[in-house]
Symmetry: C2
Subunit: 388 residues, 2 copies
């Protein structure tokens, strides 16, 4: 039985994967009068008198909204709110299982960015953080930015930043393994959507300074009038020599290929044009840009994918549970760049030097202590912030 | 220690009363690949292909949103979204404990009716029902009506209809106990807010046909230009003789007083002006319109209140868990009048004739089988509907 069949059976048997659970018992009149009326009036009054008390008397401080409009779900595309529920429910499951965070799936039946921002803003009182999920680019940039400006709780688009943090962790590990400093690793990112954009920014944050981003139209550059504003901005922040051309032009001499594009995009011929012993992160899901065996046969020294059936899985589940846990612990008002960098280094640090190798650059999802390592790094980075 | 203190300690200790819980385990890569990617793509695809499959592969069919804008919370008034969380969290607790229904508190940081309607409409994909809660009148009427017209899942404002169903059940029981048919019970309802309005409509549905509704301004009548449209409509649907005057004028000769107003409104003198052996439902919370001992001393034959420390507690918890459970079981698209009437009779029927008495007209919250009795009656009423 494959995972698709098994998943269907699981979802039908259990009706999804999450439910609610009571933390207190209601077995008699006293219980009822304490948990509900009249007793419940007292925490209400306290919160009314002192809004910060919402963290003291409710679960806000451990609750995250997993918000999607269903516009870019997995590799399935724009399938809408209802069809996106199993993914958001799955995210809620991973939040709980990996970090003990209570997450609520919120699948919105609208794809208007302004409306999504306003709705999430009005929903915010019960939540300690907002995890945006599977919202298509470039709408996701605007939604995240506007929401974070309006709210004093963290807003985090996982498809962008979660992916970017794991990629950064894996590249830090590769840098350590190969003894090549991050600023001497020329990188090509193929795919300029939500993930590709965030990866580029994150790599700049950790000191990678030679990045090209390619899309179907070729290498992004800041002066290409045919690109949308987000892509042009991305072209100008990377591609400092203002290169032009196709993926085949851009890949020449690159040490690192990071694919967030589609199956089969990376050929052995293209790998042959890269620098010696190239590093390939082929993360298209479920079919990567090139299969690991083929990449290795073409000369790749290190290969990572998004798949659980090969070594070096680039998996967001390494990041978001611990990142939110850490942010919630210290009531961070947002996720800063330093918190993401701290999370990336915390992940890379989980691989001891003597165990680091071409097939072990990043911990697996079930590596012990991942969420706590990330949470501790993230909360420390928030507490240590200096006007960031 | 009183309930206020106990409640504060409980809320601080547990950080609210509800959490999320996983229905499946995630202990290894296979689990992850089944519950999440790549397997989860399959239920998504199924729902996309057949929207009804959302009930098959997700928890929608057992999930209720408890939606409030914090505008009329308990007796606390307009305390806003954040301060309302403990009540909505408590409601979620009662849904789970009494009926196994998963309920999610949604406290909205807006009090604009049009915006609330639109927001709840966009949230609807993940929910099988909408329980509106603690929204002030007359806004609550418009919000409920518009939402129900837009959605094909039940929308139910509990402060209105939950209260009305329990009151109807208690009055049915009184009619049985006193052997006076419902259409021979002259009723005065004091309070024309959300609850009073719904009680009046519900009593008309069960055959009570002589009703006056009083507000602070006196007896409501259909031709009183000083009233808002909702109240004028209520005045015209009741008060068929177009009486005018104060509460003291209206109460003369009434057999039943139903108070959803404030403490101390009903005096022994007013009770003395009612019909012989009057029936008093004094439901203001936590201080009733008159205390039971005082009402009895003034001649009341039967007294009910909203309090758990006196007999005959008129408590919504008898209704909403079972009502939603029943509606969800048969995927009712709305809550019909017949479903509410069925729920009221199911509650009244739980008191066997030989146990019925002036201090036992309505089951207690922990009476065995309440939620299932209500659920069965409600689901049967939906399945038996004839164009209702």
């Amino acid at each position: 039985m494959n995972y698709y069949e098994a998943s269907l059976i699981m979802h039908e048997k259990y009706k999804g994967k999450m439910e609610t659970a009571s933390k207190v018992k209601v077995e008699n009149r006293d219980d009822l009068s304490t948990a509900y009326t009249p007793g419940v009036a007292e925490p209400c009054r306290k919160i009314k008198a002192n809004p910060e008390d919402v963290y003291r008397y409710t679960n806000k401080g451990n609750t995250v909204a997993v918000v999607s409009d269903g516009s870019a779900v997995l590799g399935l595309g724009n399938i809408g709110a209802a069809a996106a529920i199993p993914v958001m429910d799955g995210k809620a499951l991973l939040f709980k299982e990996f970090a003990g965070v209570d997450a609520i799936p919120i699948c919105l039946d609208t794809q208007d960015p302004t409306e999504i921002v306003r709705i999430v803003q009005t929903l915010a009182p019960t939540f300690g953080g907002i995890n945006l999920e599977d919202i298509s680019a470039p709408r996701c940039f605007e939604i995240e930015e506007k929401l974070q400006a309006l709210l004093d709780i963290p807003v985090f688009h996982d498809d962008q930043h979660g992916t970017a943090v794991v990629v950064a962790a894996a590249l830090i590990s590769c840098s350590r393994l190969t003894d090549i400093p991050l600023n001497e690793l020329p990188v090509l990112i193929n795919g300029a959507g939500a993930a590709g954009t965030a990866i580029a920014k994150m790599l700049l944050s950790i000191g990678v300074n030679d990045i090209l981003v390619c899309d179907k139209s070729g290498i992004l550059s800041g002066d290409d009038e045919t690109l949308n504003p987000a892509m042009r901005k991305l072209g100008s922040e990377t591609n400092i020599q203002n290169n032009k051309g196709s993926l085949a032009d851009g890949i020449v001499g690159r040490k690192v290929f990071i694919g967030v594009s589609g199956p089969g995009v990376l050929t052995p011929e293209l790998i042959g044009m890269m620098a010696k012993d190239p590093i390939i992160f082929a993360m298209a899901n479920p079919e990567p840009e090139i299969m690991p065996d083929e990449a290795k046969a073409a000369g790749a020294a290190i290969v990572a994918t998004g798949r659980s059936d090969y070594p070096n899985q680039i998996n967001n589940v390494l990041v978001f549970p611990g990142l939110f846990k850490g942010a919630l612990q210290v009531r961070a008002k947002r996720i800063t760049e330093k918190m993401k960098v701290a999370a990336a280094y915390a992940l890379a640090d989980l691989i001891p030097q003597d165990q680091r190798g071409a097939e072990n650059i990043i911990p697996g999802a079930f590596h012990p202590g991942v969420a706590d390592a990330v949470a501790n790094a993230v909360s420390k980075a928030w507490l240590d912030r200096m006007g960031d």
